[in-house]
């Protein structure tokens, strides 16, 4: 009994598309961040490259990064240093595989996994290894502290992230991303209405997982120069750069799918081509929220971050699970 | 350098300053001078630490403004030589102030010019730690009892004490300071153009 060869080909093509999506998404969100932050700060932001609105700024940046010399510190552990960005990128790309864009599983998704959300949470931890590798191999104390902070932070926030999704899984009765969306489409309202606590915790934990403000201690320019990416330059830096923005996208997609009804919108037939647009609009709102927060808040301290995770988020999310489970059985 | 009597009697403020100067001088056992609104109390170098202990304690001059020195000498490598010969010595100054009416007293003492050495006051005014390090590297004054009398600004290998008057400014020797153009007398003053160059 063997799997069809065509299956592998199809999978390869879908994966290639998912891989191509990462730089595009990274550039779009990167541009959005530049432009939005500029307007929040009474600046114009990029306006030159590409003629109007500086739309080609990120492309120009990309070209610049690729042209730059790939500097590897002499004392660095070369193989680990070289592979770290790839691993970070891998974790990001792998997340995009399960994003449901459309009810049709043939076009809308690379692969609908039965354990979809579980897969997403598992694979996102691969990036952590990449971050730790980058921090350790750079032979730089700032990088090292950055890597350690990243690890401590990701360990702490993995738990509330997972626990926050459990409520949704209980309500939907499935872990498949498609299944969760169809459950929301079927009932007509998103889980955010009932799982608002889970949603809030998920978004906070997401910010921490993405190491974005107010949880950007692993990078913390004013303290650690650039944290674990201090020693990276050129193409390898581009990997981290794109991975950050692509990760924003994929985490927002997961949040939108779990809590905001994914491609479903009340009154609109999900079978149409509007579905991906609806999903992207929801993602856009979440991404905007993250950008807005980033340019408003200062950074927390490491111990405050851990306190928040262990003393607040985890107990609350466990309580949320218990309440959801009881209500599920009762109602 | 005492102020003229007429200046002292001009205002109440000057009288209050004199009163303050006398009070400080009395408490630390020194001699007070008031010059242009600045109170200076001279003490013997043996009484230096004791005097500053008194100012930081009973007198309530808790704020350490600064501590530094003056190299009084007749042979200078840069700048103006004193017109009248001065007694060769290092004058160590410590400016302390209270935090209420802003009265400031400069406690002063004279150190031997050949081997300047004095008790450190870093344990009386902790902030004196850095000031003493600065004075030590700039004037070569030895502060006995200082916890860490290493160089503050200059590289460890630096030799010499830059603020001593016999320390030459090498760049001035290579290329004389062109600033003398600025200080030429104007023709209407009737004197010949000054050739004096303060920066040679």
């Amino acid at each position: 009994m063997s799997l069809e060869l065509t299956f592998w080909w199809l999978l390869a093509i879908k994966l290639a598309v998912a891989a191509a999506v990462v730089p595009v998404i990274g550039m779009v969100i990167g541009y959005a961040e530049m432009k939005l932050s500029a307007h929040m700060q009474s600046r114009v932001g990029p306006y030159f490259a590409g003629g109007r609105f500086g739309w080609a700024q990120l492309i120009a940046d990309g070209v610049k990064f690729i042209q730059k010399e790939d500097i590897i510190p002499e004392k660095a552990d070369r193989p680990v240093f070289k592979w770290a960005p790839a691993l970070v990128m891998l974790g990001t790309m792998a997340l995009l595989v399960i994003v449901p864009l459309h009810p049709s599983s043939r076009y809308g998704i690379v692969r609908d996994l039965e354990v979809g959300i579980f897969y997403a949470l598992a694979i996102s931890s691969v990036s952590t290894i990449g971050v730790l590798m980058a921090g350790w191999s750079s032979a730089n104390k700032y990088s090292m502290i950055g890597g350690l902070r990243a690890a401590g932070q990701l360990i702490a926030y993995e738990l509330p992230l997972v626990l926050a999704t459990v409520g949704v899984v209980i309500q939907a009765g499935t872990m498949s991303m498609q299944g969760i969306v169809s459950a929301q489409v079927a009932q007509g309202w998103p889980f955010a209405l009932t799982q608002f606590i889970g949603f809030a915790i998920f978004m906070i934990a997401t910010l921490a997982e993405l190491t974005r403000l107010p949880f950007d201690m692993p990078i913390a320019e004013s303290e650690l120069v650039m944290g674990y990416v201090t020693e990276y330059s050129g193409f390898r830096f581009l990997f981290f750069f794109l991975a950050e923005f692509a990760n924003m996208f994929s985490m927002s997609v997961i949040a939108a799918t779990l809590f905001l009804g994914g491609y479903g919108l009340w009154g609109i037939n999900p079978e149409t081509l509007l579905s991906p647009i609806i999903l992207f609009a929801k993602v856009g709102v979440l991404v905007f929220l993250m950008i807005w927060l980033r340019w408003t808040l200062p950074r927390l301290r490491e111990d405050q971050l851990q306190t928040l995770a262990w003393k607040w988020l985890i107990p609350i999310s466990i309580l949320n699970i218990i309440v959801t489970a009881v209500l599920k059985v009762v109602i | 350098m005492t102020a003229s009597p007429s200046e002292n009697s001009v205002s109440e403020a000057a009288a209050a300053l004199d009163e303050f100067a006398d009070r400080v001088a009395g408490a630390v056992g020194g001699r007070a001078e008031v010059s242009h609104g600045t109170v200076k109390v001279r003490v013997a170098s043996s009484a230096w630490k004791e005097a500053l202990t008194v100012t930081s304690g009973d007198l309530g001059l808790v704020f350490l403004s600064w501590l530094s020195a003056i190299d009084w000498t007749n042979e200078v490598a840069v700048g103006d030589e004193p017109d009248e010969p001065v007694e060769e010595r290092y004058e160590l100054l410590c400016a302390v102030s209270n935090l209420s009416d802003g009265n400031l007293a400069i406690i002063s003492t004279d150190l031997d010019h050949d081997s300047p050495s004095i008790a450190s006051v870093a344990d009386v005014y902790p902030g004196a730690n850095w000031h003493e390090r600065e004075a030590a590297e700039m004037f070569g004054i030895d502060f006995v009892g200082h916890p860490d009398l290493t160089k503050l600004y200059l590289p460890d290998s630096f030799e010499g004490h830059p603020l001593r008057k016999d320390f030459p400014l090498l760049s001035r020797e290579v290329k004389p300071w062109p600033g003398k153009v600025d200080v030429e007398d104007m023709p209407e003053n009737g004197s010949s153009p000054s050739t004096e160059n303060p920066g040679a």
Binding site: M1, S2, L3, L5, W8, K75, A76, D77, V80, L113, E114, V115, F118, Y119, L121, A122, I123, S125, V126, T128, I129, L132, M133, G135, W136, S137, A139, M144, G147, L148, A151, G152, L154, I155, E158, M175, D303 | -
Partner: protein
Amino acid sequence: MTFSDWIAEPVNWAFLAMAIPMVVAALRVVTSRNVVHAALFLVLALAASAGLFILLSAEFVAWVLVLVYIGAVVVLFLFGIMITRAPIGRETNLSHDTRWPAAAAALGVFAVTFWLINGVTQQIGGFGDPLPAVGRATPTGILGEGFINRYLIPFEAVGFVLLAALIGGITLARKDLTPAEEEEGARV
């Protein structure tokens, strides 16, 4: 089933593509001259074994492996190594004195496992024949129901043991604070 038949199956290429790096990585875990490298090879070995589980259609187990072992255990390993000491470069004396008994024990475990699995496969069919379950995913739901129906008591027992271990761990690791230190801790 001959070797050429076996190698003609694309799924077996995938098997080799994961199994060979896994074995190499597993060997490098114990032979590597650098602790961090060893831990990273452990990641590779675990990832490859997760891939093998996927080939066996045990998706849930595969991702549990990734989440728990790669995402938590190895990250904690690395975290611990780095927070205490993380030298870059070779270390001269990484081998533990008891490495030969350990190797013997590992070989013993391997032999027993091989003997067991071989025995099972002999009963089902010849060695190399696909296991009946291959290709059919075990639904996660069934696993879940198994946990809270048939295997509820073992499940709860394991959970209780883990909880006890956790509390024990905290008790051991916790330094008794003097009152002054406690105040300090409270202030921070």
